[in-house]
Symmetry: C2
Subunit: 224 residues, 2 copies
């Protein structure tokens, strides 16, 4: 599976979140990071080039900071120029995901919260695009208040982000474990992660596995 | 009350709907029509100018054709450049409406329809902006399949559109009747509307008044 990240951010250099996410994709195979503002400094989108890029990939990810409850304007321009209803057949069978970075806490995105709507609700225009092209809409990958996260939280986020880019939408426990083992090998080879972080990550993964096993046992009990 | 229409459309000359709506605003007092693509052919928005324009008006209307379930990109750029949370106090007490033109039938914008979401749902990002600035969010003014409308339908649409721009959100019957009488005078002076159209409009308005009076009578009966 080939993943295309269409990144829209007018100031990637000044964003620690984007720097972190971009570093996380560098080592990944079959993941293309396409930064619109860098590729098109004048703002003029090349329709033919973009349509070819889209056709080549199986999973399309829009990645952006939340600007007025949507993407920065260049990603909207990309949509207006590149997306074409006549291509529904050519582009069928794709998956479509959103990685959205918000400066406000997640709890504010709900009825009664300061932002009154959930992120799912605010992203309806993208879900409608997925519906139009019959693409599988992936659960939104929201990153809230990255600046306040602990190092361990950031490392966990990195794993989840890489899984979002690379793994099947409804992956099995076995798939996730195999993927994680592969990732552990690469982490061991890198000097970025301290031993402490690695232990935390392994513990976390083991705990998730444990919970999943307990759930399976419960289901089996119910069936008996 | 002063109304500002912020119109975003890359090809107004080629749009019969926009030509129709623009003609409808020409005779209106206290309505400013501001066409972004015309004002900014290079796409570079003047923040200071736009913020001053916004501050001067009481009712802000975003008017645009639906492009991928949102506005064309220049209106998004306008939002990114002009809107500023720090101005909440300066900009308080405004009303905020959306005039959205769709080529697809209204019945498709619902669960089970081809577009799966209502226009209210698709416009959540704008509603969230109104919420952020504590502006009163007006019911969306949707125009669906304008090209297929009869002349009478178009004339009725014109009246409703002018009322959307100029009248209070929850205007009384007396207010609407007074406004309509004034409008009839201007219509009589113009050569555009045929006598037949005028009679239709008057009949329509009388019928609305009749229904409202019957409702009031019913309410009075209930109270007795």
């Amino acid at each position: 599976m080939k993943t295309l990240i269409i990144l829209s951010h007018p100031d990637v250099a000044g964003s620690t979140t984007q720097q972190f996410l971009m570093a996380a994709t560098q080592t990944l195979e079959n993941v293309t990071l396409h930064h619109l503002e860098k590729h098109y400094p004048t703002g003029k989108i090349d329709r033919v080039y973009e349509q070819a890029l889209l056709a080549e990939h199986d999973r399309i990810i829009f990645q952006f900071p939340l600007y007025w409850y949507s993407s920065p304007s260049l990603l909207k321009e990309w949509q207006d120029v590149v997306l074409d209803e006549k291509k529904i057949t050519d582009w069928q069978g794709k998956e479509f995901g959103i990685v959205v970075i918000a400066g406000v806490a997640k709890k504010e995105y709900q009825a009664g919260g300061r932002e009154i709507f959930t992120m799912d609700e605010l992203m309806r225009p993208y879900q409608a695009i997925a519906n139009k092209f019959k693409w599988q809409y992936l659960p939104i990958f929201g990153i809230y208040q990255f600046a306040y996260m602990t190092e361990t939280c950031k490392q966990k986020l990195l794993i989840r982000y890489q899984q979002y880019l690379m793994l099947g939408n409804s992956q099995t426990l076995a798939e996730r474990t195999a993927w994680f083992q592969n990732q552990l090998i690469s982490i061991s080879l890198s000097k970025e992660a301290s031993l402490h972080d690695k232990i935390d990550l392994i513990k976390e993964q083991l705990q998730t596995n444990q919970e999943e096993l307990e759930m399976l046992r419960f289901t089996l009990d119910e069936l008996e």
